[in-house]
């Protein structure tokens, strides 16, 4: 929309897509404002993608840059895969929000500020030397200076509300303005306000008044650009809902457990950005979910291993620092050949790093982060919604192949959300367990099925299958402790082979595009949206670039090599220092595998990717 949304008189312009970013103090309710805008747009039929961007501190001092919370959403009449590179409209509730979010605003775009907040104290707190509304900081933007605070106050006069409550409604005023700007109905948000403040009618009334006041104010003033229409997208028919990556992960795990008639046991220790999976699962104990908030990450994974040993689906969820603590126990699950799902919601590192920022730098620890030869299956979800599918698949593979499976998501997927045409659980692939059997009346815990090499899962409580397992090397078949040299070699190779054979049970990767074999863009995990958008836009511009995106990291899909062989140049794009590229190089040493990496705690921008690919196409 870059060319069309300019300063002008009221009129209605149709746009393909638009990016809106809300930014304010942590206490200003920006996450809520953004969600409401998204939900209303989804109901209207837009496709969309969202990305919340908030600080590590709970509530850093008001008015400081550190305390700013943002929410970005891209809506469109075309397929939307990312929350957008740069905001066409930035709403900044105070100077600090402006300061830290200006970098995300498109030059030539619109910035709406709460004029009342630009007083000296706030300007200084934000780190501006002079008032940015008065110097040339914003020369390249169309700035709308709306006295949001005072107008909200006026609108709410007469209600029995204290000043704090009144000021908390100003986000609704801003939202009202945006609803006018994009020609949206206030209805859904009004319904939401009513239900949220059921018990405090004055607050309900206040918020509704603020919302309407904003709408009417926008209609009245001249400073705003024309009203825009983003027509509904052409979206597959069906029933949709919004879903975030963390919720989708939780539900996918539940679906798998329900499908196979097991309880879902989650052992977890809170950590950003994974905690919401724990929170979500804690709400569904009626569906056979057991959640244990463990004393630490080690207890979390160990309790999950115990639950799996006892015959349920054991799962543990965490992020980098917590994953680092689980390595020893995951190794036990490798050795004991017990199903286990480990969800790693990746965040910026190393160490505590940037807890609320996204990153994709845990491939190494997922694949290699255990002592000795300790192979595990590694998957990666690539959109908020498909966290459901890959969480389900992680559970399915773990149980069918009797192995730990590590599912990588990331902060971007976890907190981002998108409309989702959700499936019926019956449409998900069935889960077929390897049953524990006896040979000549004896149960051998390490007897394997010929295809998968999975051992039978005999569960305590089953008469006649009493057996002992553990972390020491074991004799093939019997599972007894064995230090025999050749048996050890055989077992190490068998465990590796078992994981390799998972490749026989996963889909091939598919290439998007039909290039001339010049350039293949490779992605994995949460960068799908940006990569797909960039490649698609280049393909529309007739550039010869193809794209594959990996959800199966270890083992790789079986056709990977065949596909790679077709290309002169392969560029692996990831939010790390090139971990997947390195892994691919070690597996396919004779191919020209390049790496494009970014390590800023932020997703790829479509524009930057396009530039990179065009550069690669040159030579």
């Amino acid at each position: 929309m870059s060319e069309t949304l300019v300063n002008g008189k009221k009129s209605t312009t149709e746009l393909e897509k638009v990016v809106i970013r809300f930014a304010g103090d942590s206490g200003d309710g920006m996450q809520l404002t953004g969600s409401q805008f998204s939900f209303t747009s989804a109901l209207w039929g837009n496709d969309l993608a969202t990305f919340p961007d908030f600080p590590a501190e709970i509530r850093a001092p008001q008015g400081t840059v550190e305390g700013v919370s943002g929410f970005q959403v891209q809506i469109g009449k075309i397929d939307i895969y990312t929350p957008g590179d740069q905001a066409d409209v930035l709403v900044a509730m105070n100077p600090a929000a402006l300061k830290s979010n200006l970098q995300f605003a498109r030059k030539g775009g619109n910035i709406i500020v709460d004029l009342d907040a630009f007083v000296d104290r706030n300007i200084e707190k934000a780190g501006f030397v002079t008032n940015p509304l008065e110097d040339d900081t914003l020369a390249d933007y169309n700035v709308v200076e709306a006295p949001i605070s005072s107008l909200t106050k006026t609108a709410l006069e007469g209600l029995q509300l204290d000043n704090k409550s009144i000021m908390r409604s100003k986000n609704m005023f801003a939202l009202g303005m945006m609803y006018w700007l994009f020609d949206r109905s206030l209805k859904e948000t009004e319904k939401y306000i009513e239900s949220k403040f059921k018990k405090t009618p004055a607050l309900a009334e206040g918020n509704k008044r603020a919302l309407n006041a904003g709408f009417h104010y926008a209609e009245t003033i001249e400073a705003l650009p024309s009203m825009y229409k983003i027509p509904p997208a052409i979206i597959e028919k069906g029933v949709y809902r919004h879903i975030s990556g963390n919720t989708a992960t939780a539900w996918g795990l539940m679906a798998a457990a329900e499908r196979i008639g097991k309880k879902l046991f989650l052992g977890s220790y809170p950590i950003t950005p994974a905690s919401d999976i724990l929170h979500e699962l804690s709400r569904h104990k009626n569906l056979g979910v057991i959640t244990m908030q463990a004393e630490d990450e080690i207890a979390a994974v160990c309790s999950a291993i115990g639950a799996s040993y006892a015959g349920q689906l054991g799962v543990t969820t965490s992020s980098g620092p917590g994953i680092a603590l689980k390595g020893e126990a995951i190794g036990l699950a490798v050795m004991a050949e017990i199903p286990l799902v480990v969800v790693d919601v990746q965040r910026g590192g190393p160490s505590t790093g940037l807890p609320t920022k996204t990153e994709q730098a845990d491939i190494n620890i997922a694949v290699f982060g255990r002592n000795s030869e300790s192979p595990a299956v590694v998957l990666a979800a690539s959109t908020p919604a498909n966290c459901f599918e890959f969480a389900y698949m992680a559970a399915k593979i773990a149980m069918e192949h009797m192995t730990p499976v590590i599912l990588l998501t990331d902060g971007y997927l976890a907190n981002g959300s998108e409309p989702w045409k959700f499936p019926k659980t019956a449409d998900m692939p069935p889960i077929n367990l390897e049953e524990a059997k006896k040979s000549d009346g004896v149960y051998y815990p390490y007897e394997r099925d010929a295809e998968k090499l999975a051992r039978g899962w005999a569960v305590p409580g089953t008469p006649g299958f009493e057996h002992r397992i553990g972390g020491l090397e074991k004799q093939e078949k019997t599972g007894n402790v064995s230090y025999d040299p050749t048996n050890h070699e055989k077992m190490v190779r068998t465990r590796a082979e078992k994981v390799e054979r998972v490749a026989n049970y996963i889909p091939d990767i598919e290439v998007q595009g039909n290039g001339d074999g010049k350039l293949l863009v490779v992605g994995w995990g949460g960068t799908f949206g940006g990569l797909r958008t960039a490649v698609t836009e280049l393909q529309h511009a007739n550039k010869k670039v193809d794209f594959v995106h990996f959800n199966y990291i270890n083992p790789l899909p079986k056709n990977t090599k065949a596909i790679f062989e077709k290309y002169n140049k392969i560029v692996v794009c990831e939010l790390n220092m090139g971990q997947f590229a390195s892994l691919l190089r070690s597996k396919f040493p004779d191919m020209n595998i390049l790496s494009y990496s970014k390590i800023q705690g932020q997703p790829f921008l479509v524009t930057e990717l396009k530039e990179v690919f065009i550069e690669h196409l040159k030579d």
Binding site: H242, W251, M254, I298, C302, S303, G306, A310, G314, T425
Partner: protein, 342 residues
């Protein structure tokens, strides 16, 4: 303890012995503990397939291999966490968790105290030989100050934990102490622990013949038995010594050893053991008694009933399920805000 309900066939000791070669050192105290356990289990009326023995790593932790039940030899110190997962996954199981003092109180200290706090209905056996056996003789968190070991060639400079005090400090509901030289008492206490609903912590003073021989001889040696063992029983006076002529009296806030018949002392002066008292102060005092000035208390020192973690979770699930508005993942997927594109 649902598992207690359906009474299966009568088992014998043999039914609980696995076919694996027992690999402890000759003379190790672990042998008699194993034997007491295979004596105890047939008394419980629990089907064999419902027993699970979980352990970490250490000499003690090899225990599950020798039991013909379900068994899981996990990783060092994490047994209580694994056992908690097992119990929550299937509350019908009778879960036993075997730990050495290093496993339980060094690397596993956190899981140990949290299991006790949550009061998950499992039985933890702490084989306390005051040494790391399997790694060939380093001091442990229960080793006395001054002990010369591989890692303390000049004697340990650390102050030890006392298991009982840590158990009480961690809100434990059941603490019993026994010794590897008294098979009868061990069997009795294992049965008692199994019947306690909640985390049962049984400390077994165990002898490591190789690296810390006679560590408990001050209490267990024949010549010390009478004077330095006090077998406590709920509701019984705290008497000990040859012919039970000595007893424990409370003097203000202090315990003291008295002799029946001396200075007009009669049985009425002797403290009667109340294992069921919620207030742990006296249990703490009893558990702290040690030679040379006091006998050591053996038997069930503390046994109070509190809701277990597994009970609480089951209750919660029932309550939630009663009021639930959805009954399947499909319901859940459809719940909340959805919209249809037509």
């Amino acid at each position: 303890m649902e598992a207690l309900a359906d009474v299966p066939k009568a088992y014998t000791k043999k039914d609980f012995e696995s076919d694996q070669l027992v690999r402890w050192c000759p003379g190790c105290g672990d042998y008699s503990i194993l034997s007491a356990m295979t004596n105890a289990l047939p008394q419980l009326g629990i089907p064999r397939e419902n027993f699970v023995f979980v352990s970490g790593i250490g000499c003690a932790a090899r225990f599950p291999y020798y039991m013909n039940t379900y068994g899981f030899h996990t990783i060092h110190g994490r047994g209580p966490a694994v056992a908690t997962g097992v119990k929550l996954a299937n509350p019908k199981l009778s879960v036993w968790e075997i730990q050495g003092d290093g496993d339980a109180l060094a690397i596993g200290g956190n899981h140990f105290i949290h299991a006790l706090r949550r009061n998950i209905d499992i039985n933890i056996l702490l084989f306390n030989n005051e040494i790391y056996g399997l790694t060939k003789g380093q001091y442990s968190p229960t080793s006395p100050t001054g002990l010369v070991t591989k890692s303390t060639p000049y004697g340990s400079v650390e102050r030890p934990f006392h298991a009982a005090e840590l158990v009480i400090g961690a809100q434990g509901t059941f603490y019993a102490r026994t010794i590897d030289t008294n098979p009868k008492l061990m069997t009795e206490i294992f049965v008692h622990a199994a019947k306690h609903v909640g985390t049962s912590l049984v400390e077994v003073l165990q002898n490591c013949v190789i690296f810390n021989d006679d560590a408990h001889a001050g209490v267990t040696a024949k010549q010390n038995r009478d004077d330095f063992q006090l077998h406590v029983k709920h509701g019984q006076p705290l008497l000990f010594g040859k012919d039970n002529k000595k007893g424990i009296r409370l003097n203000g806030l202090k315990l003291e050893v008295v002799t029946l018949g001396e200075n007009g002392i009669t049985e009425k002066d002797i403290l009667v053991h109340d294992a069921h008292n919620e207030d742990p102060a006296l249990h703490l005092m009893l558990a702290r008694m040690a030679p040379p000035h006091f006998p050591m208390a053996l038997g069930v020192i503390r046994e109070v009933r509190a809701k277990t973690y597994d009970e609480a979770i089951a209750e919660e699930r029932e309550k939630i399920t009663e009021n639930a508005k959805y009954h399947s993942v499909d319901d859940l997927l459809k719940s909340g805000e959805t919209w249809e594109i037509k």
